[in-house]
Assembly symmetry: C2
Homo-oligomer: 112 residues x 2
C-alpha cells in the first residue's frame, strides 16, 4: 500500500486541552496493520498537546518539520526536525509549538 500523507483525512485530537493539533492515521488497523500504527501529527503555530501519559502504550516519534518545546518527566527542552523521541509507557509528555511555523512529527503506537 502506497499513499501520499496529505491524502489521508485530517482529524482533530480527542485529548482534552489540545489546541491547534491535527493527526492523520497513515497506517492503521483498517489497512491491515496488526501490531502498530503510524500517525502524522501537526501542531500549528501556538498549538499545544498538554502533559499526559499512557499507562501501557509507548510512542516512537520522529520529527519531520519544525521545532517545539517538549515538557514532561525531563526538563523542558526544545526539539526539532530529525530528532527522535522514545516515550515509554507511563512517561509524561507534551508539545508546545511556540514558533511561527508548523511542527510535524511521526508517532508510532501499538494497536494491541
Amino acid at each position: 500500500m502506497i499513499k501520499q500523507s496529505n491524502e489521508v483525512p485530517e482529524e482533530t485530537s480527542s485529548l482534552k486541552g489540545t489546541k491547534g493539533c491535527t493527526l492523520r492515521w497513515l497506517i492503521a488497523e483498517k489497512d491491515g496493520a496488526e501490531h502498530y500504527a503510524m500517525r502524522l501529527f501537526e501542531l500549528k503555530p501556538g498549538g499545544l498537546i498538554p502533559v499526559h501519559s499512557h499507562d501501557d502504550t509507548e510512542h516512537e516519534i520522529y520529527i519531520i518539520e519544525g521545532t517545539a518545546t517538549l515538557d514532561g518527566d525531563e526538563n523542558k527542552i526544545t526539539v526539532k526536525k530529525d530528532d527522535v523521541i522514545f516515550v515509554k509507557p507511563g512517561d509524561k509528555h507534551s508539545f508546545i509549538n511556540n514558533s511561527d511555523k508548523p511542527f510535524k512529527f511521526i508517532c508510532v503506537i501499538p494497536t494491541i
Copy 2:
C-alpha cells in the same frame, strides 16, 4: 529518551546486493523498545536495495527526503518525500535511487 538522528551510529545493510545504503537504529530493543523498532535508512545517489521480502515481518515506511523507484509486487513507481508505504509480510519490495540527491526514509519493524 531524546536524541538527534545523526548522532546514532550509521551501519551498512547486511542484505545481499545492497549498494550505497546505510541505516541507523534510532529506537531499538536496547533502548527498551519491546514491540517495534524505528530505523532511518539512507540511499545515496545510485544506491540500491534489491527486491526482497520477509515472511513474517511488516514494514511501516515514511519517506522524509528525496525520491526513488519502488519495485516489487506492484509495478515500478516513483515514491517521494511524505509518501507512506505499508509493506505487509511476504510483499516484495526494493528501492533504487536514480536521483542525484540522497533518499531517506523511516522504516518501523517488529522486534518480536
